[in-house]
């Protein structure tokens, strides 16, 4: 069953499309990251899924509910982390979490237990008596995740995680999300422009640009779909010339390959030619490199179809 789904989802603000015909599905227990640059439509996507807005056209559903129409029911089953959503300045972190547990109808004893667990797990227990203005951005981000997980949601929607976070906070958030995915069986939709961060948490990805979902899938399928090739990298003894077709980059002789199945043959060739081979690795492109390849491909296609003079391919 798809826990999160969007069909031809479109949102238009003042004549400008923030999302255009987005289709995506996240199966229950899955973790998907929608990545993109600023203005790609990530926040709009999370807001629509969280019921903070209604689509201009198309549909979306979370756990079988329509977010824009059944938001209160939905919020009982989802936890949403938005960058713009803040904690109350007049209350300490502990009081804030107690308040949000209360308005989410979490019984008092369960709330205390859950808040203690989350604060310890996120390593911010010692900060519990501080007010939000006394907390760093990283601690506030962790607190935001704690708030979203208070009522043990089945779906977690996160926007722009990674921004402004220190290394420890990023690690803590990643660790807690991993726990929630493994042990609590949550479904995660993470929208972020920090692609390496998203890649470290999720297994499938959507590439958003200017409101359009360029592609979706695993890193491997996106790499293949985007025509981004792997690289074979060989480290040879100093001063030795690399095999034919290889170029020296950062101390490794590198060559683009179509699949890792080519590696044994390349290694055999290198060894057979009498070269001292110390190391052989397959360099896989990062999500960010794949995303940039899709953007470049899109631009090339646009230029091909529209050109500078606006003429088509016949021209």
């Amino acid at each position: 069953m798809d826990a999160i789904a969007a069909y031809d989802l479109t949102k238009i603000y003042g004549g400008k499309a923030a999302l255009q015909g987005v289709n995506l599905q996240v199966t229950e227990g899955g973790a998907m990251a929608c990545v993109g640059l600023e203005g790609a439509g990530k926040t709009t996507l999370v807001r629509l899924m969280a019921g903070l807005g209604r689509p201009t056209s198309g549909e979306c559903s979370v756990l079988g509910l329509s977010p824009g129409f059944e938001s209160a029911r939905l919020h009982g089953m989802t936890g949403t982390v938005l960058q713009s959503a803040r904690l109350y300045a007049c209350m300490s972190l502990w009081e804030n979490l107690r308040f949000f547990a209360g308005v989410n109808y979490v019984p008092k004893d369960q709330a205390i237990e859950r808040i203690s667990f989350l604060l310890h797990r996120l390593n911010i227990w010692d900060e519990r008596d501080r007010t939000p203005d006394q907390l760093s951005t990283g601690v506030l981000t962790r607190a935001g995740l704690a708030r979203a997980l208070l009522h043990r949601p089945r779906v977690v929607l996160m926007d722009e995680q990674g921004a402004g976070m220190d290394r420890e906070s990023a690690e803590m958030v990643r660790e807690l999300l991993g726990y929630a995915l493994r042990e609590e069986g949550i479904t995660l939709l993470l929208c972020s422009q920090h692609m390496n961060y998203a890649q470290s948490i999720c297994g499938s990805f959507g590439l958003l640009h200017n409101g359009i979902l360029l592609a979706r899938g695993t890193v491997e399928s996106l790499r293949a779909g985007g025509g981004v090739r792997l690289k074979a990298a060989l480290r040879l003894a100093d001063g030795r010339e690399g095999p034919q077709g290889f170029r020296l980059e950062e101390g490794f002789w590198q060559k683009e390959i179509s699949s890792e199945d080519e590696m044994p043959q390349l290694i055999a060739q290198a060894v057979g030619s009498g070269t001292s081979l110390y190391e052989a690795v397959v360099i896989r492109p990062t999500l960010e490199e794949i995303y940039r390849a899709y953007l470049a491909g899109g631009r090339r296609r646009e230029e091909f179809f529209h050109g500078e003079t606006g003429t088509g391919p016949q021209a």
Binding site: M1, A5, Y7, D8, K11, Y13, G14, K16, A18, G41, T43, T44, R47, A50, G51, L52, G53, R54, P55, T56, S57, G58, E59, C60, S61, L63, G64, L65, S66, G68, F69, E70, S71, A72, R73, H75, G76, M77, T78, T80, L82, S84, A85, R86, L87, Y88, C90, M91, F99, F100, G102, V103, N104, Y105, V106, R147, A148, H151, P153, R154
Partner: protein, 304 residues
Amino acid sequence: MGRQEPGRRPSHAQKRPGQKQGRQPPQKRGLSRLFSSAEMLLVKKDMAGIWARSSQRALLMLLPVTLVVVIPAVYFVAISLLPAEPGAQLPEAIVALLSGTAEKLDYRQGWLIAFTDLLCPLLFLCVPILTAAASASYAFVTEREGGTLETLLLTTMDVKNVFNAKVTNCTILSVVISGAAFVAFAITAIIAEVFAGVRPFFSWDWLVILVMLTPVLSLFSVVFVAMIITRVHSTGESLQTMGYLILPVAAAYLAQFTGIFRLNFWILGLAALVLGAAAVVLFNMASRGFTAEKLLADEEREAG
């Protein structure tokens, strides 16, 4: 999958058999019939939040004290210092407004009665308006400004329940402050009356003001501020709306002192009924406009 008509529930988003419901509001029982536990928490949080802000606290305390204690006290002292020459009389227009009650009184007593009967009710009516508008500015606009309204809209509370809880909280707060302000005014006025040797100020007019007009004006002012929440961008801007709300009271004050009419029992009662009806209409309009999409329109546009 066909395109969805905006504003219509999508066809596929149907409840599945055995679908887990998530955390839902418990059944309301006993005293909590009026409010759910979440609404009560929100009311308490808003009360504490308003009280925690020194500027808000000062506004809610100083305004009533100035209007119903300081101004009347200054006026009473000034009246007691008036040179009471033999045969000095109140202006005819004022005597006419007091409908015969001033005839048996001396000059100072006449002015005191004129003040407590004609001006003090209007000063007092500013209290529910100003305190309601000030507390509603905090509860609605400051919360939106601070980004916490968005967090609140992500909870299990229905957006209408958030609206109801906030309106109720601000109205109750305004009525309570107005009640305390009336007690403070009564003490000030009674001391002055005892010294001046005149009858107590309390009348049927005051009863209507206290029982009918104060709650209705509080509700009207709160709902008015709640209605403009999507149009203002700061707490300061929303506080300026107090000017619009005070305008009718100032007009009534002018009309009364120029002799057009006197605010009596019947006029006050009628005003309370009309304002009550208007408050209900405004409440429904504001409640309909209180949606996540409208409240967070600016943030959404930025996100888009």
